[in-house]
């Protein structure tokens, strides 16, 4: 029961909160839930598997474009949405096969490069709308029922987030997840225990891409319009900041991190658009927040927000010192 409590709490928030929110805040809620979904994958990748991706928005984009293009060409939206994570995961597997030979900073830069290449390819791809963007994506619908209101998308985004959280939890507490976490500390010892390191690195990369792709699919139907500019490198960095601020190696971390960052950016945006503020204020403030939050977090909360809170709340069962060795 103790184990289920966080999931139940999350479900309650995702179910009860949207109807209480004023219409103008629903958009924030949708984008927050989608960002959190991507960040769950980033956290899995960085916190549990010890890999860094500075290009996670690429898979967000791939999922969004996959769902959008399929829908534009008349494929039922549900199929498009289901295809989004699969296509993102396949892309990650193909890219990961060569990329994951790299480690640490090298991998981070390589993923960043992948995103820059993807953005410039998308800008030139006329079949995907080019630099102008892909327009006329129909609204999401199942059978005859069409999602028109923001509230519906709030539930869709919440549903997608819930799936990502449950899958991440299931994976972490499994044979495969233990192998992946073991490899993050010692690849040698993990391999000696029978963990196929290369395959596992690829599988985690693909799984995190699938989360991003799924979120991207919802994003496509929600906005109905996609352009390369919707997926800037800054977005990838935003996902990493969210994961780090929330706390790597926890499930709640990405949720807390995404909430804090989105709300902070939103608040500063409001502040920046107050009368008397210069026109560039909103942009400067929202860029600054990533830098400041990340620096403050690394200096004072190196483990992120969630682990210290969790440690304070949880009463660890007292372990008696063993009387023999």
């Amino acid at each position: 029961m103790r184990r289920r409590l966080p999931a139940v709490l999350l479900l309650a928030v995702l179910t009860l909160l949207p109807p209480l929110l004023p219409e103008r805040h629903l958009a924030t809620f949708v984008l927050l839930a989608l960002a959190a979904t991507v960040t769950v994958g980033v956290s899995l990748l960085m916190g549990y598997a010890g890999q860094v991706s500075l290009g996670q928005a690429s898979f967000y984009a791939i999922g969004a474009y996959a769902a959008g293009l399929l829908a534009v060409h008349g494929v039922p939206p549900l199929l498009g949405l289901l295809a989004a994570p699969v296509i993102a995961a396949v892309a990650a597997t193909l890219l990961g096969a060569p990329l994951l030979r790299l480690r640490g900073h090298h991998l981070a830069f390589a993923t960043l490069a992948v995103q820059l290449i993807l953005l410039s390819l998308l800008a030139q791809a006329d079949w995907a709308g080019g630099a102008i963007g892909l327009q006329g994506i129909p609204r999401f619908s199942i059978g005859g029922f069409e999602l028109r209101e923001d509230l519906g998308y709030a539930y869709a985004a919440g549903f997608v987030l819930m799936i990502a959280v449950l899958i991440a939890r299931n994976v972490i507490e499994s044979r495969a997840g233990r192998g992946m976490r073991a490899a993050a500390t010692s690849e040698t010892a993990a391999a000696a225990s029978g963990v196929a390191i290369g395959g596992y690195r690829l599988a985690v990369f693909a799984l995190s891409a699938a989360f991003a792709g799924l979120a991207g699919g919802v994003y496509a139907f929600y906005l109905g319009y996609l352009a390369p500019g919707s997926f800037p490198v800054l977005l990838s960095i935003e996902f990493v900041v969210m994961a780090v601020v929330g706390g790597l190696g926890t499930i709640a971390g990405p949720l807390v991190g995404a909430s804090v960052i989105v709300l902070l950016v939103q608040a500063l945006n409001t502040l920046g658009t107050q009368p008397g503020m210069p026109g560039y204020a909103p942009a400067v403030l929202s860029y600054a927040v990533y830098a400041i939050v990340l620096i403050v977090c690394v200096l004072y909360l190196p483990k992120g927000l969630v682990p210290p809170i969790r440690d304070r709340l949880s009463v660890r069962p007292a372990t008696p010192a063993p009387d023999h060795v």
Partner: protein, 278 residues
């Protein structure tokens, strides 16, 4: 499981760490590999475990060559490894660490975990059950739910052994398991290893501490400068003049045999052994 190492060499930057080493460990045998620092023990260990590939020569398990197989594939064939350094997995409990050891003999992957497919829970229970038994056997039951990195060094080493045992190895490779342990811990370890041998597991024990292996090993292989210089029963090896010269050096007064408190019978047995030796 029979381990056959045949003519194995491995050089680093033109210098041979292991040169033309051959040895056969029969099923159920406890073989010790000893030698002074730099003798090539750790390199040989890595060549058998799969952390290194040999330049030439072959390593075979039950007659099947494995020298080109990566470590995880060798683990699947029943090789369990205890490294010299305490390579425990951080951010995981002692129990989870040991559960990783079951990897080689279990199957469920990411998909069955993500979707909680049937069979997942059964296998998970099975792994947990086995891991708890291994923790119990190595005296770590009380530490099961503690983060592995919080365990004292002696317990971290025991944890590695528990992890290796969880894979139900048929060939157990131990790299200096006794180094850094206190006398009581060493005693406990010796009993444990003897018990594993009695179960019929093949064990290769690489050890710096001669006294520790003398009473445990069936046979001892002595390495010096990357080559095998002697092989035989403990009594034979101890009396071998080449071993004494290479391992103990000309000034036997400073040797580990004498300074080691666990070796309580230095002069008498040695003269006795000399009598038996041809």
């Amino acid at each position: 499981m029979r381990l056959t190492v045949d003519g194995v060499s491995r050089a680093f930057g033109g210098v041979y760490a292991v040169r033309d080493v051959s040895l056969t460990v029969e099923p159920g045998e406890l073989r010790a590999v000893i030698g002074p620092n730099g003798a090539g023990k750790s390199t040989l260990f890595a060549l058998i475990g799969g952390q290194l590939a040999p330049d030439t020569g072959s390593v075979a398990l039950d007659g099947e060559p494995v020298e080109r197989l990566p470590a995880h594939r060798r683990a699947a064939r029943g090789v369990g490894i205890v490294f010299q350094a305490a390579r425990t997995f951080h951010g995981m409990t002692a129990l989870e660490n040991v559960m990783v050891g079951a990897h080689a003999t279990t199957r469920s992957g990411f998909l069955s975990a993500a979707l909680r497919l049937p069979g997942h829970h059964r296998e998970e229970r099975h792994i947990r059950h086995r891991a708890l038994a291994c923790l119990d056997r190595t005296g770590l039951a009380a530490w099961a739910h503690r983060p592995a990195e919080e365990l004292p060094l002696g317990q971290q080493r025991a944890l590695q052994l528990a992890r290796a045992l969880c894979g139900e190895p048929r060939l157990l490779l131990l790299d200096e398991p006794a180094s850094g342990l206190r006398a009581a811990e060493r005693e406990h370890l010796a009993t444990l290893i003897a018990g594993l041998r009695a179960e019929g597991r093949t064990i290769l024990l690489v050890e710096h501490d001669v006294a520790f292996v003398m009473r445990l090993a069936d046979r001892i292989t002595v390495l010096d400068l990357g080559r095998v210089i002697a092989e035989g029963a403990p009594a034979e090896v101890r009396a071998d003049p080449r071993v004494i010269a290479a391992y103990l050096g000309p000034t036997a007064e400073n040797s580990e045999i004498k300074t080691d408190p666990a070796m309580v019978r230095p002069p008498a047995p040695r003269s006795g052994d000399r009598g038996v030796h041809p």
